[in-house]
Point group: C2
Chain length 205, copies 2
DNA sequence: TGTACATCAGTGAACGCGCGTTCACTGATGTAC
DNA sequence: TGTACATCAGTGAACGCGCGTTCACTGATGTAC
């Protein structure tokens, strides 16, 4: 048990956790401060001891998400071991794993519309997230013959877009777009085909 | 000028148009019935002469969107002429063109969370949208040797996810994920690499 | 063509509600002596 | 160790607001004779 401080203990984090759970269930614009407070066992007014307001609460969720995300991706990439290719594929899997394991964080990061301008800590963390993906792409693209090598940023943007699209369309209880395949398979096979198109995987298995 | 009917003329469509403009600007959960009414030059109460409520208004936007979308995709695919490959690429471009030209519709369709269960007309239109993409994928995948041919539904899911991801991450005024490349280029190059991976485009140009 | 009547699209005012936020407070915890 | 005081996390009640929605109405339009 973490050290209990004043009255509640660690209310700030408890509020973040409650917010994440609510966002996961009803989306970033569906949750209310009052609900989050109630879920943390506290009066709505108590929220304002720890956060400037609703937006700051969401921003903290996004910030923590970016930190977890960055760590996960960095760990998955593992500096390109055992091979750049294997590391890259692990990074793609880690992306989806993050989205599924931390849906509240994911939504706060990419669907809440929190502005990065007004929160420099958040901007830094978001930059780092993007950086990890880009470095992985860069390392991997060294294996592509230079004359047919796309810019690493484009490469990573493709993978990111594919991953995000799979998450949004197929990895949610999304009504209307029933998942035709498990999202993991969909992303893995999609990345596989894409990498084959870059000549990073032999054309015939 | 369309024939003016009773008092306003075609208020129902005017409300839909206003809603689309508002959704485009502030997202599906950011618009209000009162704003839409005001933008259409009418009292909030007038909305309820034409729609059951807020949700029905959004659903109508999504419905019209799916119809435009289906028509566009069908036209772009053009029954596989001049070639299945060219037609498929045109379909991909049409996807992005739709998202950019009708952002309000796109958001109402894919980001509003309107339930398809409760609106059978909408469900039918959404099915058709998916159907067009899938038929295009099916036609094209006939050119892949059967033993390495992925299911057409997976194929189309990949393209859809990539397209959606590009739209969400890079084709919006999205704060935080500054577009590293024009979205059109990003999608076109991504689809190109993917199709190369399927052996549908020769490996070296 | 002119008049009397029926229809119904849009009005204006009001409703209940739940939201985010504020404020004076209180009482448990930490600290100084 | 015991007492007096300072701190400040959380309370409870209230606020102003804008939302979606309702309702009796009114007056422009369409129709019958």
């Amino acid at each position: 048990m973490p050290k209990r401080g004043y009255h509640h203990g660690n209310l700030k984090q408890a509020l973040v956790d409650a917010t994440l759970k609510l966002i996961e269930g009803k989306g970033p614009s569906g949750f209310t401060v009052a609900e989050a407070a109630k879920l943390a066992g506290v009066t709505p007014a108590a929220v304002y001891r720890h956060f400037e307001g609703r937006e700051a609460l969401i921003a903290e969720c996004a910030l923590q998400g970016h930190r977890i995300f960055g760590d996960l991706m960095e760990h998955a990439y593992a500096d390109g071991h055992p091979s750049a290719l294997a590391a890259f594929e692990a990074t793609g899997r880690a992306y989806l794993a993050f989205a599924r394991k931390f849906p509240g964080h994911y939504m706060a990061m990419f669907e809440s519309g929190v502005s990065l301008q007004s929160n420099s800590q958040l901007a830094i963390a978001a930059d780092r997230s993007r950086g990890v993906l880009e470095r992985a792409a860069e390392k991997l693209s060294e294996h592509i013959p230079p004359h047919k090598r796309p810019p690493a940023t484009m490469f990573s943007a493709h993978i990111w877009a594919l991953s995000h699209g799979v998450v949004e369309l197929f990895a949610r209880g999304n009504p209307g777009a029933k998942a035709p395949f498990p999202p993991d398979d969909l992303l893995e096979s999609g990345i596989g085909i894409y990498l084959r198109g870059l000549g990073l995987i032999p054309q015939d298995k």
